[in-house]
């Protein structure tokens, strides 16, 4: 009996000793004052506010929306920046963009194409370091364009069990680029290159390596010199370690771990994950900067009209009912029967989901950030996806 009691006491002591709270808490700076004037009489204001409020009432912790149209800017912020202290969201807060980054990487690749440093139809073996090309199955039959439009058939490294188990074991010590690429080496292709569509973060990690090999500059330097500086995007960041992220104003990020509608703060995990997402998801910035980049891209201030035509040449997967993807741009059809469709990109982290979209028919740009992740199948996947669909649908149909 005494021995049993001893065992129970040991277990209880271990449990108490092990309780560490808020391991992912990431303090954040106060948001700066607004720089971009909003039109409080914007014609979309009431409808956007109503949609945001409806989904905040369903339990999305924080929503940030920015719209730019002929009527000017409008910003809607719903919920809290941090549930714990109920601090308000601000349109000046920095967000992790995640896969919105692919638009920037694609634009950098197109600029290299314009400079004739890259042939989009050349095999990637021509540009990748030999040790990387050797690891990718059938790399001699995969072209740069196939990376850009996800028709390479290369497996998505972030969907691999070894990557996901790493996330559980060491979320704050993310795998290096080499370790991530090693997870893909030798893996069979999902299909013959160029015959189908399958979204893969690996494609854009390889594009980053190609850009660095061709330009002989780090990705960050290229991004700064080719896009951020010319467009004066002063609130867009890449390679933002935790120490620097603390100096900026980020919202808290949340996860429904067990898919049971209970959220936990995963801000540090989300930050570490984003910062290690490189050319497929490593950029952070404000909503205004995201829209300003997409607007510059659409208006031909980033790449040439010929590049933009290539970027908007959509491919469609065998199972898809509508076009899927261009070169670094996602195709949407939120207003069926009304025009050519919309385009932009979505992003997903462990604690957030983002989107930026352009609607050609009404010349409107939309940015969305929800501060809860939807990568685990469950109620929050549906809540955030429904919200994005409803808001995108409203903006796409607005005339």
């Amino acid at each position: 009996m005494k021995t049993n009691l001893f065992f129970l006491l040991v277990l209880a002591a271990l449990l108490v000793a092990g309780c560490t709270k808020d391991v992912y808490d990431l303090p954040s700076a106060t948001p700066p004052p607004a720089e971009t004037p909003a039109n409080e009489a914007h014609p979309m204001k009431d409808s956007i506010d109503a949609i945001v409020s409806r989904y905040i009432a369903k339990g999305i912790p924080g929503i940030q929306v920015a719209v730019k149209s002929a009527d000017g800017w409008y910003f809607a912020n719903g919920g809290y920046a941090r549930i714990e202290d109920q601090s308000p969201l601000s349109s000046e807060m920095t967000n992790w963009y995640f896969s919105l980054t692919k638009m920037y990487t694609a634009a950098l690749t197109m600029k290299e194409w314009e400079s004739e440093n890259i042939n989009l139809d050349a095999p990637i073996t021509q540009y990748l370091p030999q040790e990387i090309a050797a690891g990718i199955t059938s790399s001699d039959r995969i072209t740069v364009k196939m990376l850009l439009n996800h028709t390479s058939g290369i497996v998505n490294l972030t969907a691999l069990p070894e990557y996901q188990l790493w996330q559980l074991n060491r979320p704050l010590e993310q795998p290096t680029i080499e370790e991530r690429l090693a997870m893909v080496y030798g893996k069979p292709l999902l299909f013959e290159p160029g015959t189908d569509f399958s979204y893969s973060n690996t494609n854009f990690l390889l594009l980053e390596k190609i850009l660095e090999q061709v330009s002989r500059h780090p990705y960050e330097s290229l991004l700064r010199s080719e896009i951020l500086a010319p467009l004066r995007l002063q609130h867009t960041y890449y390679n933002l370690p935790e120490g620097q992220a603390r100096q900026l104003s980020f919202p808290g990020y949340y996860l429904d771990r067990y898919a049971n509608e209970q959220l936990e703060d995963v801000s540090r995990w989300n930050s570490a994950l984003a910062n290690a997402s490189n050319g497929y998801g490593g950029i952070a910035g404000t909503s205004v900067d995201a829209i300003r980049f997409l607007e510059a891209l659409v208006k031909g201030q980033v790449v040439s009209p010929a590049s933009l035509i290539q970027m908007r040449t959509w491919v469609q997967g065998r199972e898809s009912t509508q076009p899927d993807y261009g070169l670094g741009l996602e195709y949407y059809q939120f207003a069926p029967g009304q025009g050519q469709g919309q385009y932009g990109h979505e992003g997903d982290g462990i604690g957030c989901t983002t989107q930026v979209m352009y609607v050609p028919e009404n010349d409107t740009y939309l940015y969305i950030n929800c501060t809860v992740g939807r990568q685990i199948f469950g109620p929050y996947l549906f809540k955030t996806t429904d919200f994005k669909k409803e808001l995108c649908g409203y903006v796409a149909k607005w005339r």
């Binding site: 391991v23 714990e84 074991n169």
Partner: protein
């Protein structure tokens, strides 16, 4: 908690009484093991990564004089700094033949149930405001264990059987995208019983 989970818990909680009711020799043994655990499974090509402490304590009842068949009931605690701690109970059916003099092979298979906690304080939306959430989720385990032990060391009136073990248990229902979720335990333990 669904019906299956309730039955499983009843089985786990009822097992000690059944074990203690076994009044035939050989005697019941206490089983203590310490080690490291990681979300890992050898076949997945994943890396044994970021291991954290795990501890088990329980009882083992051999069924026969050769002590090569038996059943173990264990309670365990695993530390999870990043994914939350866990309290677990396992019922394992054991085959432990002597491979050579004093060298015992072990193969254990069973069922388990664990309460998976959060690494930080969870909250939930009650329709009007954010309130505190439940501290843990119940998850079903399917454990399998291989071990190599030494039978046995005698000190006074006590018999010790040290062993090294590898246990893989898969979690069912952790979350829809992470089910089954493999967890590996590398354990150093010993069984202890009084000499008759």
């Amino acid at each position: 908690m669904n019906l299956f989970e309730k039955l499983l818990l009843a089985l786990l909680l009822g097992a000690p009484g059944w074990l203690l009711a076994q009044n035939e020799p050989p005697p019941m043994q206490y089983d203590v093991a310490l080690g490291l655990h990681s979300y890992y499974m050898p076949a997945l090509g994943a890396r044994w990564n970021g291991p954290e402490p795990v501890a088990f304590a329980g009882i083992h009842q051999p069924f026969n004089r050769k002590q090569n068949l038996g059943v173990s009931l264990r309670l365990g605690y695993s530390r999870g700094k990043y994914q939350g701690d866990a309290l677990q109970a396992q019922l394992l059916f054991c085959y432990t033949p002597l491979l050579a003099e004093h060298v015992e092979l072990g193969f254990k298979l069973g069922v388990g149930y664990q309460f998976s906690f959060y690494p930080s304080t969870p909250v939930r939306w009650d329709g009007e405001q954010w309130v505190g959430g439940r501290p843990a989720k119940g998850v079903v385990q399917a454990p399998v264990q291989f071990s190599l032990g030494y039978r046995s060391i005698h000190t006074g009136k006590v018999e010790w059987q040290p062993y090294l073990a590898y246990q893989l248990h898969v979690l069912f229902g952790y979350s829809p995208d992470l089910s089954p979720l493999p967890v590996s335990n590398a354990l150093l333990g010993f069984k202890i019983s009084s000499l008759q």
